[in-house]
Symmetry: C2
Subunit: 378 residues, 2 copies
Amino acid sequence: MHFADPLLLQSGASLRDYSLSFETYGTLNADKSNAVLICHALNASHHVAGTYAGQVKSEGWWNNMIGPGKPLDTDQFFVIGINNLGSCFGSTGPMHHHPDTGRVYGAEFPVLTVEDWVTSQARLLDALGIQTLAAVMGGSLGGMQALSWTLQYPDRVRHAISIASAPNLTAENIAFNEVARRAIVTDPDFHGGHFYQQGVIPKRGLRIARMIGHITYLSDDVMNEKFGRQLRAEAARVTHDASPVSAYLYSTLEAEFQIESYLRHQGDKFAEYFDANTYLLTTRALDYFDPARTYGGDLSHALARATCKFLLVSFTTDWRFAPKRSREVVKALLDNRRDVSYAEINAPHGHDAFLLDDARYLGVVRAYFARVFKEVTA
Amino acid sequence: MHFADPLLLQSGASLRDYSLSFETYGTLNADKSNAVLICHALNASHHVAGTYAGQVKSEGWWNNMIGPGKPLDTDQFFVIGINNLGSCFGSTGPMHHHPDTGRVYGAEFPVLTVEDWVTSQARLLDALGIQTLAAVMGGSLGGMQALSWTLQYPDRVRHAISIASAPNLTAENIAFNEVARRAIVTDPDFHGGHFYQQGVIPKRGLRIARMIGHITYLSDDVMNEKFGRQLRAEAARVTHDASPVSAYLYSTLEAEFQIESYLRHQGDKFAEYFDANTYLLTTRALDYFDPARTYGGDLSHALARATCKFLLVSFTTDWRFAPKRSREVVKALLDNRRDVSYAEINAPHGHDAFLLDDARYLGVVRAYFARVFKEVTA
């Protein structure tokens, strides 16, 4: 959908003549009360569920969560998957042309915030004629958007579902983002963000950024279970107890351990499809998000504006956005006597758990949406 | 000290015509029973204590631990600080010339293991006429060397002190090493490890490697306490509660948060003095260390060879080498009915704690060395 009115951003800059990519699933009911907006995290898109005809590998990123008969049931709800501004998957972003200059934005694309994304999403709802969302839902950075919706448009959200998220980043979170950004920015192929004109892509930096990211998405335990110290090479030699053991390659350049080839593969894949400028601005939006900031750090005070009902979910082994971060939000909402449900799921998979099949997790969301459906159809 | 005999390495390669840099502190007693060997970690050297005359900033890296009247008292012990082979601080390493070809080793420098370092250290002791160490001590990678001493030369060590260490790396540990190595190796200035001849240094990669390392040396808590979400910019604006708050720069390139400038500074410093090939081979030695490997993963079986007495120390917030890793060693030693002391220090500083002043930690080491001194002078 194209938007002709300029969007004033938190930074003071503005975007005009921009488009938002979105997909919808299910049917909007007569009183337009069953719409659920899905906000995405770092590297996802508006394609949240289903598979495109003839494209076997085109499964939506939250396809285990959203669809007919699934926890968020598209037979009951009208689900909107939206792609954030600045993304590289359809909505206006750094690889598009600046309407004033005709040149590719590149590094000139304005820095966006979570609040800016929410503002742009509200305009899409206006255009769709949807005044009030039955729910807004997201995981990780998507969960921050869901929280921000309740603060920016408290009257337009009945339920907010924030999964594996946090009220802001810790110093360590920012640190990981910063190392990833430096890897991209100092790649000679970055060219100050104007690499498109040079016909190159800062793939070295993107690979490093993705490898760092992947480490923080998994728990130490699940990494040990999946990869442990397993080697790639299979050449066996006999040991003290006569059991065969693979010989080391004794190389600093070859991938010796399974975890190394896994990370390299993830990095290579990512560098093929993700945009470097999108990576920079998306991680920056994460860094900046901090609704308590202008309230002297008082989250309870900051969340007083939120009036909707909440479901928060966290995962025990998520060390990127640990359960204690979700509990900060729960506490702040309870301080304001809000209606809050909270589930802390005992899952081994770290931050990635929010995208994976876990019966208890999916069950919690299913039960919550059953309640939402009762409310909107009451 | 120069060594003319070739050193056969675990990889099957060998090093000949090599030198080891070392420093000694205190006086070797008549029966040569008071020698303590200090093994260093990733980026340290043989300069463990004291300050060079006229060089104010030349303090040894373990100067709070070692010296006259300190926990390891150089009025009582003869302390040897040794620099590992492959280092960039004096001992033969990648920036030295291959004796056969006359060319700088660079990437041709052989991959070393913890066991190789210990073998080379034993030769130094031979040359110094020291048959038995009162103790071998190290932190982190140095602690692995101390452990390996007890397995390779059980008759030459009376006490081993291993601090903030582990019996091997986890998949996550290896993953962080691998990302750091890829950052170096994919830096266009690396030139396959032969950057010396090109007159360049892969500083981009070294900076990223160091930034990643620093994140893993600190605990999340201490990072929040030291840096939190503090900004660099001081431009104030008025907020909801009329308190001033710094304005964001809205930049993905500028260092916005204090933690970012701290990490950049650490990366810049490191890239000025540390050698890229040394970084690669030192992290690889960490990856490879795994004494239980040839015993089917049975650490108790592997440590049966060790006959000396042990002190192990770990720190509660160390997530790089967590206390549970030290406890694995303690358990394996107890399975063999060895004499083991173990202290788990409640310290906020993460892995870095082993280098910092902590009264309980230093007190534990002091008490242990008082016992060692009694034994060697009995």
